[in-house]
């Protein structure tokens, strides 16, 4: 089967270069700075959206580059990540479906 054959032939031997790691690191630091700065500006309901978007971008960078998901030939890793996010989403979304539609809360 694909996931066994292809994957077990070549182990994900990607060695991250110094440069790219430092670049990601700088991007993460920049993200932190931006998110702190943005928090002090009143954007109304967008404050939360901006903060979480930046957090998600940072998290994505970590997953893709620091955790080497970008370089892996392994589709399975992606599947595991996607399903974790999916079921987390289910938990949050369906619980909120109750709380947001209660006539009294």
């Amino acid at each position: 089967m694909s996931d066994q054959n292809s994957a077990s032939e070549h182990v994900s031997e990607h060695i991250s270069t110094l440069g790219s790691s430092v670049a990601i690191w700088l991007a993460l630091l920049a993200g932190t700075a931006i998110t702190v700065a943005a928090a002090n500006i009143d954007l109304g309901p967008f404050n939360i959206i901006v903060a979480l978007t930046i957090a998600t971008i940072k998290a994505t960078l970590v997953v893709l580059f620091f955790m080497h998901v970008k370089y892996t030939h392994e589709k399975l890793t992606g599947l595991v990540i996607v399903s974790a996010i999916f079921f987390l989403f289910i938990l949050l979304a369906l619980s909120m479906a109750d709380y947001t539609t209660r006539l009294w809360r």
Partner: protein
């Protein structure tokens, strides 16, 4: 390494005689030995849980509640539920049969992480010890559901030790699931493609998804319950602004999918057994694989059907009711496909097949009554009545325990290297079936009449049905004791089993009974589909009780 003591299996070395002494068992990393460790431990807990069940039934013989105090009764059903669910049924099939068989079925030498497998067992034992401590230290009376704020602010019993015990059992279950997922992905023998996997393996794959992604949520929830009790955080305490319904959401987010942990592996067993004793391919292999995965995934979307009258939004109730029906469709496919598998088969009725019949029938009844509960208008009336009790015992006891027993009989020759006594096996299956129905069918009627569950005393007009139920439970007890006795007996006195007594398909039957430590003498290479009974043919006719057939 020649053996002198223990059962004599000739010169051949098997996992059973590969090492001696307690240490060789307690430090083993062999999945087959770990499976036996689990077998012993879950049997222990099954009898504890069963003992509580018998006390419950004895108490309910009379309406007045004379036998035990109400507090004691509350502890009885709580500990019955917790022990049966977390320490018996959830690990029952995966950790015993799954552990033993998955590497054999996919042609591997062991699970991917043998030491983690042993760790799982130790976590289970730590959890189990805490549970036993809880029982001996005066018990716990939260109900198996731990509803807040009762469990966090009001009860004075051992809530924390029970919660922590279940937390450990939960992590044991998570690690088992993790091990299975990785094993099934990474350890398959050459040629063992996904669409050649036995359905037993598929069922465990689906189960593992639930174990890995559902269990952590209940784990953190129980941590919060313990913290609430210790520090009064208020997260679930309405007096401090908390919402008790949040606890219910988090609890059922796990515990509904968990009911599928408690049925999918049984479905896997039944698929193997039905095929073997009909000498046929499974009807609609692809649909069967999609169905188990579908049940596992959709099972995550329906949890609030346990909360229809709990005070959730009615719109949420409408959604969850609808979603609950979706999960029934793949279940229906399974039932119909098993039935269709028998069509034009060549069916024989050994004990495992009898249990498989029992499973299909009782699961159907239990499942269909699940549809009553998913139906909002009816659930408002029967919620928290004996109708619920009957529904889930039909599935869990009538379905899963039957499947478990069927599987134990089916693979006992492989596990122990001995045959069990067929006549006794059939008798026990019959007793279990009769006892079961007598115990739990009256509870459907009681439930619709309105007898609430978790009641220590009840109005006298409910008595007759309760008496019937108690009578059934005693029969059931006999039915469960029998296999226990003759399995033990057969370990010493049973006929030595050939490698493949049922002439069944599946890699596990191609190695010795009992298998050697590394499972196969040489690495198997798979070139055939699952259930290739067309090539295998009939069950060997030795000294079997054959009914002469004239048709």
């Amino acid at each position: 390494m020649a053996t002198t003591d223990g059962p004599d299996f000739g010169e051949r070395e098997s996992y059973l005689n590969a090492g001696h002494g307690l240490k060789s068992w307690l430090l083993t990393v062999d999945h087959k030995r770990i499976a036996l460790l689990y077998l012993i431990s879950i049997t222990f807990f099954f009898f504890i849980g069963g003992f509580f069940a018998l006390l419950i039934r004895l108490e309910l013989l009379t309406p007045g509640g004379e036998l035990v105090q109400s507090d004691t009764y509350n502890k009885l059903f709580t500990m019955h539920g917790q022990v049966m669910v977390f320490f018996f049924l959830i690990p029952a099939v995966p950790a015993v049969l799954g552990n033993f068989l998955i590497p054999l079925m996919i042609g591997a030498k062991d699970l991917a992480f043998p030491r983690i497998n042993l760790l799982s067992w130790y976590l289970y034992i730590i959890g189990g010890t805490l549970m036993v401590y809880t029982i001996l230290n005066g018990g716990v009376d939260t109900g198996w559901t731990f509803y807040t704020p009762l469990s966090t602010e009001f009860l004075k019993t051992n809530v924390i030790s029970a919660a922590v015990g279940i937390f450990f059992a939960g992590f044991s279950s998570i690690l088992t699931g993790l091990n299975f997922i990785v094993t099934i992905h990474r350890m398959r023998a050459p040629g063992m493609t996904w669409n050649r996997l036995p359905l037993f393996v598929w069922a465990h794959y689906a189960t593992s998804i639930i174990q890995v992604l559902g269990t952590p949520v209940v784990a953190i929830t129980l941590v919060l319950v313990a913290l609430e009790r210790l520090f009064h955080l208020g997260v679930f305490n309405p007096a401090l602004g908390g919402d008790p319904l949040l606890f219910q959401h988090l609890f059922w987010f796990y515990s509904h999918p968990a009911v599928y942990i408690m049925i999918l592996p049984g479905m896997g067993i039944v698929s193997e057994v039905v095929c073997c004793f009909s000498r046929k391919r499974i009807f609609g292999y692809t649909a069967m694989t999609l169905a188990v995965v579908g049940i596992a995934v959709i099972g995550f979307l329906v949890w609030a059907h346990h909360m229809f009258v709990a005070g959730i939004s009615i719109y949420a109730a409408l959604i969850f009711s609808l979603l609950s029906y979706f999960v029934a469709v793949p279940s229906a496919i399974k039932v119909f496909n098993w039935t269709a598998t028998m069509y034009k088969g060549s069916i024989t009725y050994q004990t495992p097949m009898l249990y498989a019949f029992g499973f299909v029938g009782l699961f159907t009844i239990g499942g269909l009554t699940g549809l009553f509960l998913a139906c909002l208008g009816v659930d408002v009336h029967v919620h928290d009545t004996y109708f619920i009790i009957a529904h889930f015992h039909y599935i869990m006891v009538g379905g899963m325990v039957m499947a478990y027993l069927g599987g134990m009989h089916f693979w006992w020759p492989k596990i122990s290297g001995r045959m069990y006594p067929e006549g006794w096996g059939k008798l026990a299956a019959l007793i279990v079936f009769i006892g079961f129905n007598l115990t739990f069918f009256p509870q459907f009627i009681l439930g619709y009449m309105g007898m609430p569950r978790r009641y220590h005393s009840y109005p006298p007009e409910f008595q007759i049905l309760n008496v019937l139920s108690t009578a059934g439970a005693t029969i059931l007890a006999v039915g469960y004791l029998l296999p226990m006795v003759y399995f033990t007996w057969s370990m010493r006195y049973g006929k030595p089993a050939p490698p493949n007594p049922w002439n069944a398909a599946g890699l596990e039957w191609q190695t010795h009974s009992p298998p050697p430590t590394f499972n196969f003498d040489e690495q198997p290479v798979v070139t055939w589909e699952a259930y290739n009974y067309d090539e295998i043919g009939e069950i060997p006719e030795k000294e079997k009780e054959e009914v002469p057939v004239a048709h």
